[in-house]
């Protein structure tokens, strides 16, 4: 049997740890099933690519991309853009939540010296 290279062992160990961690989060209901599956598939594919490097070239050819390395770059860039978009929407939502909170507190703690208005909750 072909001897394992160091990077393959490192990849395998990282992948096993990553999948174990995401599985733990999934078990504790901190991660949804689609997210868990997405990460698991991602790591499985990465391990396959690490152990059988030419498979990435096969996949790249299927998409009409020259080399496997190019495919990896493209996927990474798309992944980064997606993450930035997700962060943008998350921050936007958080901002809106803070707004709602600050606005509600302001209205609840209204400063009024007019007696009839002080009857507000």
């Amino acid at each position: 049997m072909q001897q394992l290279l160091l990077y393959q062992i490192v990849f395998l160990v990282i992948a096993v740890i990553a999948v174990a961690l995401i599985f733990k989060r999934f078990k504790n209901d901190k991660t949804s099933l689609p997210t868990f599956m997405l990460w698991t598939f991602l790591w499985v594919f990465l391990v396959i690519f690490a152990f059988v490097p030419h498979t990435i070239d096969v996949v790249a050819h299927m998409f009409g991309i020259g080399t496997g390395a190019n495919l990896l770059f493209i996927i990474s860039i798309i992944g980064c853009f997606y993450l930035i978009f997700r962060l943008y929407t998350k921050i936007d939502d958080l901002n809106q939540n803070v707004n709602d909170l600050v606005r509600e507190l302001a209205i609840k703690n209204e400063i009024s010296l007019d007696d009839k208005d002080n009857k507000k909750d």
Partner: protein
């Protein structure tokens, strides 16, 4: 400060149920004068302190002691921007059963007499939302250019043609105010008001108002950078659903 006190009584009909929302962020120099002038005419004032770092809140509280029946203060713990401040003020005014809600800048650029003018179309039932349009020829050139560009952008993005899309003096009926939901935090809110007016099929009217230009009013408002930011915001809002 308490100019023309005699008008307080005579204008009772005009001021009844009118709530003037004044958003203020670091306006300690002008806020007292502005809200006292409004309150002295018999209008109800909702001063929204938007997390000011200076003494805006303290100044407002002092003014409130002079006009306890007319001034209400709501205060954001942290700065959330013009849009959020206006929304808070309008919501608070609605809890007081306001009939008409007027938004009025705290930097002293608006003329108190114009409140009556912008409310007129509401009184007459001609419109449910009124924008006080500042004559552009009175503006310094840079401001006039920036505001004209904003009118153009408002027209392109929201398909509404208005004379002054960035004016801070607006009036709404309670019904219209309850329908309007603005989310912009910064100055983009002015254009967003117009978008909401159109989306909710609210009848809009414009009246010409006077603008007082002082160093304070010059420092804030729409300039080229703010204009660019608003344009980016309008563009990003196209993707918001």
């Amino acid at each position: 400060m308490t100019e023309e006190p005699s008008k307080t009584m005579t204008k009772d009909e005009n001021t009844k149920g009118v709530y003037v929302v004044v958003p203020a962020y670091n306006e300690e120099k002008t806020v007292s004068e502005v809200i006292e002038k409004i309150a002295s005419r018999g209008y109800n004032v909702v001063l929204v302190n938007d997390g000011s770092a200076d003494n805006t809140l303290e100044c407002a509280k002092k003014s409130q002691k002079k006009y306890p029946k007319h001034i209400t203060i709501v205060s954001h713990y942290i700065n959330r921007g013009l849009g959020a401040a206006l929304k808070t003020g309008m919501e608070d005014a609605l809890t007081h059963n306001a009939k008409y809600i007027v938004t009025f800048d705290a930097d002293g650029q608006h003329e108190v007499n114009d409140i009556c003018k912008v409310c007129q179309p509401l009184h007459e039932g001609k419109a449910e939302a009124v924008i006080g349009a500042r004559p552009f020829e009175d503006m310094p050139k840079s401001k006039s250019f920036a505001n004209s560009m904003m009118n153009l952008l408002t027209r392109i993005f929201y398909r509404v043609k208005v004379r002054d899309s960035q004016s801070g003096l607006r009036a709404f009926s309670a019904n219209a105010a309850s329908k309007i939901d603005v989310v912009s935090q910064g100055y983009g809110v002015s254009s967003e008001f117009i978008k909401e007016i159109k989306l909710n099929n609210i009848k809009l009217d414009e009246v010409t108002i006077t603008t007082i230009y002082t160093p304070e009013t010059q420092a804030k408002g729409t300039n080229a950078i703010v204009g660019f930011k608003i344009m980016m915001k309008m563009f990003l809002d196209l993707f918001r659903f």
